[in-house]
Amino acid sequence: MSNRSFYNEILTEHNMHPDFKHPLPDADLVLEGINPTCGDDIFLRLKVDENDNIVDGAYDGDGCAISQASADIMLGLIVGRPREEALHLADIFIRMIKKDASEEEIEELEEASALRDISHMPSRVKCAVLGWHTLQEIFKPGGRKTAEENAVRMRPRR
């Protein structure tokens, strides 16, 4: 019942008017993230330079407002940053959702901190972290230019 507040303006705005939901034909990295419990599905695409800086990014997919807005907010935060910083933020975000991040760390997440209340809703946690989890996986070997066959399947909720 704590979710009255969490369809806030930041979330609905990113869901209805996403900044990064578009094709990115010259992406260097592509990975599909799937949440089989509810069917949420995103394709994360990144352009990365030779120094591992994320120079551009985009996503598309189908899913609830939380999964889609979370991915949009994430891209707003990580585009323009080096890979290590992006992974650092993903680590904080996932810990925030598990209620395991400090206030100082959550501040680093800027707009993404608007999703912190989802930690009170176990059934929606997977939606919120889908994009971030896909980001962690895309930098592992195998994330390069292979979409469907490399889909990240999140473990079903127990």
């Binding site: 869901n15 509810c38 899913g63």
Partner: protein, 408 residues
């Protein structure tokens, strides 16, 4: 709303008295009345012993209560005799029993299995398994956009090669009753065996397996006010007798030697291991409760609630209801989409308002794909729901789009 069953019926259900939530996920599982909870408790308090084996009075009493439950189930669905009633865990296990026991030993390459596209995954996956293992071909009986299965589809899909036809009596997505009698008649005319999934029909309508003339019929206790973990398989005696056991072990044998065994008589041949007697006794209480209310009164109440809900839903812009225009063809199931809002967000918003509904593919992905949806939201009503709960549902639904940032 002036119906024979009134809101007072809720006093029979402890959970409904305690909660302020509007429980509208009845197609997933029903709430349990005191009489069911008490019957299970009473069994453990006063009759608990391993049925069917002990020669002492307590075990004999446990056996009697278990077999009385079987008798009650046989009467409830009008089986010819109680030996044709096998207790299982649920509909899924019943359907798997037919698939593994009948399916694997009777189907072969060149045969066709026909499954209706309106099925729950539990009446699809066992047949996919049989098709894969035997080389039989699986084909689908398609439905129209409103969930209707036409006579033409039946005529076209069930062929001379069809050896088994599996169909749900009521769809858990559209709530519509399939024309099972026509399907069974056609199936029998080509010599095929019929399997009817009654999980969604048994809570809402009288079932007569002999009048329906089906070979197999499966349902769960928990959707019809009974406990979880008890289900039923009905099968015609000749078929059950010819079938090999599904599981082997204790309580399903006559004699066992070093080399082999002689199976027990029906129904025990299919009930290996210690049985779930307490929940069978609970199901017996549920059947007595439902029979006491009567399906006429249940249908009157559920149709009135459904009609009220549908009238309200029609007035909500951007909401699209799936299935028939006629409330009587929904069996309490109201499945819908709202433009621009994902079903999971709809269900989260309703949850915030204390309304419990289901969102997703409803374990019927092939049907949803066929109808052109990825996922939908489902409210499902039972006779103990109230007009007030439906009003709350309608109020919340009307606010969903604005709460998701839309201006209209």
């Amino acid at each position: 709303m002036n119906t024979k069953i009134t809101d007072c019926i809720r006093c029979d259900f402890p959970l409904l008295i305690q909660t302020n939530e509007a429980y509208l996920d009845n197609a997933a599982t029903s709430q349990k009345p005191y009489c069911v909870i008490n019957a299970v408790e009473d069994f453990y308090k006063h009759s608990n012993a391993n049925p069917l084996r002990g020669l002492y009075e307590l075990s004999v009493n446990a056996t009697d209560r278990y077999e009385d439950a079987r008798e009650a189930v046989a009467k409830f669905i009008h089986a010819g005799e109680s030996a044709e009633i096998i207790f299982t865990r649920n509909t899924t296990e019943s359907l798997n029993l037919i698939a593994y026991s009948y399916g694997l030993s009777n189907l072969r390459e060149g045969d066709e299995i026909v499954v209706s596209i309106t099925e729950h995954h539990s009446n699809i996956l066992p047949w996919q398994m049989v098709a894969r293992s035997t080389g039989a071909k699986l084909s689908y009986l398609e439905c129209e956009q409103d969930g209707r299965i036409t006579d033409e589809a039946i005529e076209k899909t069930i062929t001379e090669k069809t050896r088994l036809v599996a169909v749900g009596e009521v769809s858990n997505v559209t709530g519509r009753r399939n024309p099972v009698e026509k399907i069974i008649e056609k199936a029998h005319s080509v010599g095929a065996v019929t399997v009817v999934d009654g999980a969604q029909s048994t809570p809402h309508m009288a079932v007569d397996v002999q009048a329906m003339n089906t070979d197999f019929f499966a349902f769960s206790g928990h959707k019809l006010l009974g406990p979880m973990g008890i289900g039923v398989l009905y099968g015609r005696r000749e078929l059950l007798e010819a079938m090999p056991p599904f599981l082997t072990g204790g309580e399903m044998i006559q004699t066992v030697s070093r080399e082999g065994a002689v199976w027990a008589e029906l129904p025990h041949k299919f009930e290996a291991g210690t049985v779930n007697a307490a929940d069978a006794v609970g199901l017996h209480a549920a059947i007595d409760y439902i029979t006491g209310l009567g399906f006429d009164a249940i249908t009157e109440r559920e149709d009135a609630l459904t009609a009220y809900a549908m009238e309200g839903m029609k007035k909500i812009p951007h909401l699209h209801l799936i299935g028939s225009e006629d409330p009587a063809e929904h069996n309490g199931i109201l499945n819908f989409v709202i433009d621009g809002v994902h079903p999971h967000d709809i269900s989260a918003i309703l949850d915030a308002d204390g309304i419990d509904v289901r969102a997703g593919h409803h374990c019927a992905q092939p049907l949803l794909n066929h109808l052109g949806f990825r996922s939908t939201t489902r409210a499902s009503l039972m006779f103990y729901n109230t007009e007030e709960e439906v009003r709350r549902l309608l109020g919340s639904l009307a606010s969903v789009r604005s709460r998701m940032g839309y201006e209209d």
